[in-house]
């Protein structure tokens, strides 16, 4: 770990002043990802601005009937909050599918959005990586890329976003509230994370002088017909090879609306509204689910070791939609997949 200065922010305005004054500074809240990156010499901040004591820990109702989640609510508190369990069980399930109990106790809501890829080449400072060192190249494209992306990749980067929580937030059409030098704004979840393009060093559309203050959920939680199905190399405490957040609104046995977001397959939680649209007005049948999966994966491309993810994603989507339609969401402790 490099030398760095330490400051503790007293309020959001103070945090914004501190970050504006030091371009090498970074905010720290839970620290579960940033400290790890610092130990690996991937992140080398000149100053850590401790925001962990800011009053952003509330979960409250919004005027439109949704919920506002403070950026510093720990992942475990969020997953086990009664309003999340009852109204947004998809979000609770996705959070509990990720990391470990200890890490969920530490990790914050805002920090979960900003965690960085676990691409091994990003972590290995002896290899080229356009995300870590822009212009140096991508070692993953011709390297061991079994865990890498199959959708939305570029010739500069094939890393995946590692979060489970964010996959559910994408499916639920969450919004990200941020504050910055220029005031406050709201970023729709789709536009929060970026595709790599030719600037894979930028994970999110958050400016350097901005801070996440909250994540807002719209009223609809799809609590009846949802699932979070995560497929990984071991049964727990591993990143997704492919994960699917599926949510359905059923009316008279037909699908009125379908939501489908994928993790482990792209640089951001992957949503495809055209693929979702193929299900609107249809019966919830395996054949219709397969058509939606094919539409979603039409542009998928493997890089050798991860070719299997395309077929795995297709099957996981079909399974997940089936679970959601039957109202039998995947348990995150009994790992058998029905």
């Amino acid at each position: 770990m490099n030398y760095f200065e330490y400051s503790r922010a007293t309020d959001v305005a103070d945090a914004l002043r501190l970050i504006a004054a030091d371009p090498g500074a970074r905010f720290v809240a839970g620290g579960t990802n940033l400290l790890d990156l610092m130990k690996e010499n991937v992140a080398r901040p000149t100053r850590l601005i401790d925001i962990s004591r800011l009053p952003l820990t509330e979960i409250e109702e919004t005027k439109d009937g949704g919920l506002r989640i403070g950026a510093l609510v720990p992942n475990s508190d969020l997953a086990w909050h009664p309003a999340i369990e009852q109204r947004y069980p998809l979000l609770a399930s996705a959070i509990l599918a990720g990391a470990s109990a200890q890490l969920r106790n530490m990790a914050s809501t805002g920090g979960n959005l900003l965690q960085r890829t676990r691409c091994v080449y990003f972590y290995d400072t002896t290899t080229p990586c356009n995300k870590r060192d822009p212009g140096s190249g991508c070692a993953a494209i011709r390297g061991v890329n079994r865990n890498h992306a199959i959708l939305g990749t570029s010739e500069h980067c094939i890393a995946t976003h590692p979060s489970d929580m964010c996959v559910a937030l994408a499916a639920l059409d969450a919004r990200v509230r941020v504050a910055g030098g220029a005031g406050e704004r709201t970023i729709p979840f789709d536009y929060f994370h970026r595709l790599p393009g030719d600037t894979p060093d930028l994970d999110a559309n958050l400016r350097a002088d901005e801070i996440i203050t909250a994540v807002e959920l719209p009223p609809r939680g799809f609590a009846e017909n949802y699932t979070y199905l995560k497929v990984r190399d071991r049964l727990s405490y591993a990143f997704a090879l492919v994960s699917v957040a599926a949510a359905l609104a059923l009316e008279d046995g037909n699908i009125a609306e379908a939501r489908l977001a994928l993790g482990g397959v792209a640089h951001k939680p992957w949503r495809d509204r055209e693929a979702e649209g193929t299900l609107a007005g249809k019966r919830p049948t395996a054949k219709n689910f397969e058509r939606a999966a094919e539409a979603l994966l039409a542009g998928a491309r493997g890089f050798g070791h991860n070719d299997f993810k395309i077929e795995l994603a297709r099957r996981t989507i079909v399974r997940a939609l089936g679970q959601a339609a039957r109202g039998t969401p995947q348990s995150q402790s009994d790992k058998r997949i029905a």
Binding site: M1, N2, Y3, F4, E5, Y6, V28, G31, T32, L35, D36, M38, K39, L48, D50, S52, S76, W80, A99, S100, A101, Q102, L103, N105, M106, L235, S236, Y237, S331, Q332, S333, D334, K335
Partner: protein, 177 residues
């Protein structure tokens, strides 16, 4: 020469000032002065000689460094000591009451829930956190909520049995009340 290099290096890379903090560890208050990059794990082991908490991977992947912070289980290796100024930490050394072992310590002995023992302090602190959370009821749930603690010897069945025994004992005690 070396001195001049050191002086020049200090000029180019001034050492950030150490920071005074207070930690309450196992009920005892400690006033410490630490560099900002010192982890809670290193403070416990190197500054306070509480070596029961183990450094396994030092990356939050193995759980050997699990301690309770304000009663919640966390990975001490991914926590900066300066960020926890004023907080209450419980380590494996703080679980027993005098010579009376904590129920989990006793259960781990009774079920032979270890071989080499390196992960054990983290397993026991993690299990204490799990019991306090009150979310684990079935064996599957215990397994899932203990998955942040790796046992390379593979003592998992006995670790599970030890935790199940303590949970059952608690349920019995509640029912008797």
């Amino acid at each position: 020469m070396a001195q001049r290099d050191a002086a020049r290096s200090a000029e180019r890379f001034p050492t950030p000032a150490k920071i005074a903090i207070t930690l309450r560890v196992n009920g005892v208050e400690h006033k410490l002065t630490v560099a900002p990059w010192t982890t809670l794990l290193d403070v416990l082991r190197e500054h306070l000689d509480l070596t029961g908490t183990k450094k396994g991977c030092d990356h939050g992947q193995c759980g050997a460094c699990t301690v309770l912070l304000g009663g919640r289980r966390i990975n001490a290796c991914l926590t900066l000591a300066v960020m926890k100024d004023g907080e209450e930490v419980t380590t494996i050394e703080g679980l027993a009451q005098g010579t009376m072992l904590h129920a989990l310590q006793q259960a781990f002995i009774e079920h032979d829930a270890f071989q080499c023992g390196y992960c054990t302090p983290g397993q026991i602190c993690s299990a204490a956190g799990l019991i306090a959370e009150g979310r684990a009821r079935t064996a599957d749930e215990i397994r899932e909520l203990m998955s942040g603690n790796i046992c390379r010897c593979g003592a998992y069945p006995n670790i599970l049995a030890a935790i199940e025994q303590v949970l059952a004992g608690q349920k019995g005690a509640e029912a008797a009340r």
